[in-house]
Symmetry: C2
Subunit: 230 residues, 2 copies
DNA sequence: TTTCTCCATTGACAAATATCAATGATCGGT
DNA sequence: ACCGATCATTGATATTTGTCAATGGAGAAA
């Protein structure tokens, strides 16, 4: 389970989300006072879909997955790298989590009181603008995702996920894929077996080099082509 | 194409979206001054994905569809009934439309200047809160949609869309389905032929009564069951 | 080291879904 | 009423994708 860890201060935090740069010193103080730090081991659930959400979460180290628990299987909405906050649409509606979050790697996070945050949205227009901008970016990401998931075939979806992992999550090529094959399947909306099969195909065709959890995109052009032809 | 029509005033508009009740009289005046009315015939495009979005749209009569133009086919994100505004995530990011909108029935709408709106978000916290709340509601709707589209089989997806049409769009049972079969397919993420076939199956099983564009959900319990079992 | 468990992999098969082609129905314009 | 165009329907078939079952492999616990 989650463990409380030594508490620092938001003021000298090297790892606070850049949205907090829009806050004045006293405003940041409000956040700092209503905050505590927790650590999670890989695999542990951070919060669960359906439960109340009095706090939002700011990931300070590790890697987390956000996923919707659907009909028998999960859909991973996104992976989250530090430093980023995790705040769902329930904050402004029913105060419930609309997706679950779990640590993929050992992680640490700050839990921050939601009401303090919402108060700052009301009083600091720059902060509010930035918040809305970030929500909008997530919405755009969701749009791209739903189009990929509903209109592309499996090869295109796996290609998309490979680029996502390489460019956004592990920021490298080759990269060490710390998510499981099941997670890969949940990201691309298919069965685990299908995901594995397509990975193998890409390997056999020389598009990817795969050795256990290490993945190297050998032929990005061809992979991009596969992404676009669906 | 779109036609300009006689301009009224936001102040005595019986059909303004309820979010504007959060505005004071002078604030509503700002909206009123930067607004014009347009009418669209059924089938006409209101705005197109990828184009700049200096205005947002407030639908005052008719029925519109919001759809993403994907890889060879469209995905309908939602249908919009008056009175509701239509504002995409581009407003706060790249000032582009991230989906297209088209009139399904003959429609009228007000086009409102985006900057006036954004200015009010900065100065009126209640208005901003309500705006964020509505964005959040849409996000939650998108989540439900993506789970339905990616995790349910065709029968379940058609069942979901039938409830959506009956409860949210046409608010009646039976209802006159003014969208085409292709639209139905684009709403449920399948081919037109598959959508028609499942409609016919439901008809043969006595779950729906279908006569041309008139649909009557005869057995909501069984349809709900189909929705849930995927 | 041995065992156990979980995750990954593979193959065979079944189910779901799309595509293609043909036909029927409907509706506005003449 | 007639015509042309678009939309709806249906059947046959091909493709995509999932499921099931079996096996392999790596790491944790004894």
């Amino acid at each position: 389970m989650a463990r409380f860890i030594e508490s620092h201060s938001c003021f000298d935090c090297q790892c606070k989300s850049s949205i907090f740069n829009f806050l004045s010193e006293p405003e940041l103080g409000l956040i700092n006072q209503n905050r505590y730090e927790v650590s999670f081991k890989a695999g542990e659930i951070m919060f669960k879909q359906g439960t109340p959400s009095p706090h939002f979460l700011c990931l300070t180290s590790g890697l987390a997955k956000l996923y919707i628990e659907g009909y028998g299987k999960n859909l991973i909405l996104s992976l989250v790298r530090p430093v980023e906050y995790i705040m769902g649409p329930g904050i402004y509606t029913d105060n419930r989590h609309h997706y679950s979050a779990a640590a993929v790697e050992d992680s640490t996070a700050c839990l921050v009181d939601v009401n303090s945050f919402k108060q700052l949205i009301r009083t600091n227009p720059d902060f509010a603008d930035e918040f809305i901008r970030r929500i909008s970016m997530m919405t755009i990401f969701n749009f791209e995702q739903v189009v990929s998931l509903t209109q592309k075939q499996m090869h295109g979806r796996i290609a998309d996920v490979m680029f996502y992992l390489s460019e956004k999550i592990y920021t490298g090529n080759p990269f060490e894929m710390t998510i499981s094959r099941q997670d890969l399947a949940d990201l691309s909306g298919m069965s685990k077996e299908s995901a594995i099969r397509i990975l193998k195909e890409f390997k056999d065709e020389g598009i990817l080099h795969i050795d256990g959890s290490t993945v190297h995109i050998l032929n990005p052009q061809q992979l991009k082509q596969i992404s676009q032809t669906g």
